[in-house]
């Protein structure tokens, strides 16, 4: 066994899959023939012969990149789209002979891909088909990420089908992108009358033949998108180098391990400027109202910081 592991390590470094596979093959056949029980006991990191052949075929086809994880059972394939513009990583887990699952993939609605696959080839075929259906989706998201300052998600990827675009310190624009590459659920986060009026009057003129970024620029009369953190670093301000992430006025944290989302400009008072996690503010407003859940999931009360009226819905939408 040790010899084999060493062989795997060596080949991992040299990326010489063929010799690795040959080693695996020889070893496996020997073990299989001599003692079946032994294979059961060490099967955690072992795979069957068909799977090895499968890997071999995929590698030899040369169309996709294949990388190994901690064991032969976790594999990453990198597949290009039809135009060879983008590459998508798919993490495959070997569960049992002819039983593969997709462990992780940076695509929206990845639950769609949750099923058992008989071979790597099956996985690649299904994913390629899905990826090519999503071309417009990728185009639009890439376009948005390129032109706009994205507040949320913190590290945008194709897995996230929404973007929160920075307008000003108190206002973000929420846009969701459908798999067809169309905008949906466009709304403002924050309560600026200025941006709100523009959205109200402009939303009906949204033109789905134009790109999402162009539509937003038309509706809000933007020549270019405002950029977050644009204040240039003054000299001598070295201690505060990396821009500090926005923290919530209640829990003093930025990202929470147990609740999604980052602090948002929820207070309507233009001079307040404090951000809150929706979950923190909601919890406080409900506690102030005697812990009774509010009607329609919208709590109201006063801002903990500026004491002006504030509303907060339970769900982020």
């Amino acid at each position: 066994m040790e010899e084999l592991i060493e062989a795997i390590h060596l080949t991992e470094q040299s990326q010489d899959y063929t010799s690795l596979l040959e080693n695996m093959n020889t070893y496996l056949s020997a073990v299989l023939e001599s003692n079946k029980r032994l294979t059961d006991s060490v099967s955690i990191s072992l795979v069957d012969k068909d799977f090895l052949q499968d890997i071999k075929d995929v590698v030899n086809s040369g169309a996709v990149g294949v990388y190994f994880g901690q064991s032969l059972r976790s594999i990453k394939v990198v597949i290009p789209d039809d135009f060879g513009l983008r590459y998508h990583e798919i993490f495959i887990q070997y569960e049992a002979p002819k039983k593969l699952i997709i462990r992780n993939v940076h695509l929206p609605n990845s639950s769609k891909l949750n099923s058992e696959y008989r071979s790597i080839h099956d996985v690649i075929e299904t994913c390629s088909k899905y990826i090519n259906e999503l071309t417009r989706y990728f185009d639009e998201l890439e376009h948005i990420d390129q032109f706009c300052s994205i507040m949320e998600p913190v590290n945008p990827s194709f897995k996230d089908d929404f973007r929160r675009i920075f307008f000003d310190d108190r206002t973000w624009l929420h846009v969701e992108v459908t798999p067809e590459g169309l905008a949906s659920n466009v709304h403002l986060v924050g309560h600026s009358t200025y941006w709100h009026n523009k959205l109200q009057s402009g939303l009906l003129t949204w033109d789905h033949d134009k790109r999402i970024v162009e539509n937003i620029m038309d509706i809000f009369d933007l020549g270019m998108f405002p950029q977050a953190n644009s204040q240039s670093k003054t000299e001598g301000d070295v201690e505060k180098q990396t821009e500090e992430p926005l923290v919530c006025g209640i829990c003093l944290c930025s990202e929470l391990p147990d609740a999604p989302g980052i602090p948002q400009p929820l207070c309507q008072n233009a001079i307040c400027g404090v951000h809150y996690h929706r979950s923190c503010l909601y919890q406080w407003l409900v506690a102030c109202a005697g812990s009774r859940p509010p009607a329609f999931g919208v709590a109201n009360g006063t801002c903990p910081t500026c004491l002006q009226p504030i509303i907060c819905s339970e769900k982020d939408n």
Binding site: G249, C251, L252, V274, W284, C303, P304, T305
Partner: protein, 154 residues
Amino acid sequence: MAAMSPSERRLQKELMSLMKEPPPGVTVDGDQASQNLTLWTVHMEGVPGTLYEGEKFVLQFKFTNKYPFDSPEVTFIGNNIPVHPHVYSNGHICLSILTDDWSPALSVQSVCLSIVSMLSSCKEKKRPPDNSFYVKTCNKNPKKTKWWYHDDSV
């Protein structure tokens, strides 16, 4: 290390910033607080130029696991309890932000500053008018007291 609860996370952050940039005349016992995040001891000095100049006081903060949704329990402890119209001789403080007007946007630092300013604006050192009655009858926890705020001037 076990995952921190939201109240512990916030207390940890407050402790760090209070130790790093304490308000003038205020020091927190960092060792004790980091051992037990729910019980802090804060030392406070009377501000020069006020009736309490040169005096030293000790404040105790107790937090529940609902903090900051639940206000901290703040009392003066030790042998020098400031003589002030809003401070009872058992250390209880009549200050609205510690009960009814508490908000999660307040912090240990802002409570300390409020108490410093409450002391500093005092014009005559005296106990509250109902001191002896209150001290005899009150609950150990000042938050159980239904405070009746005597005046808003100090």
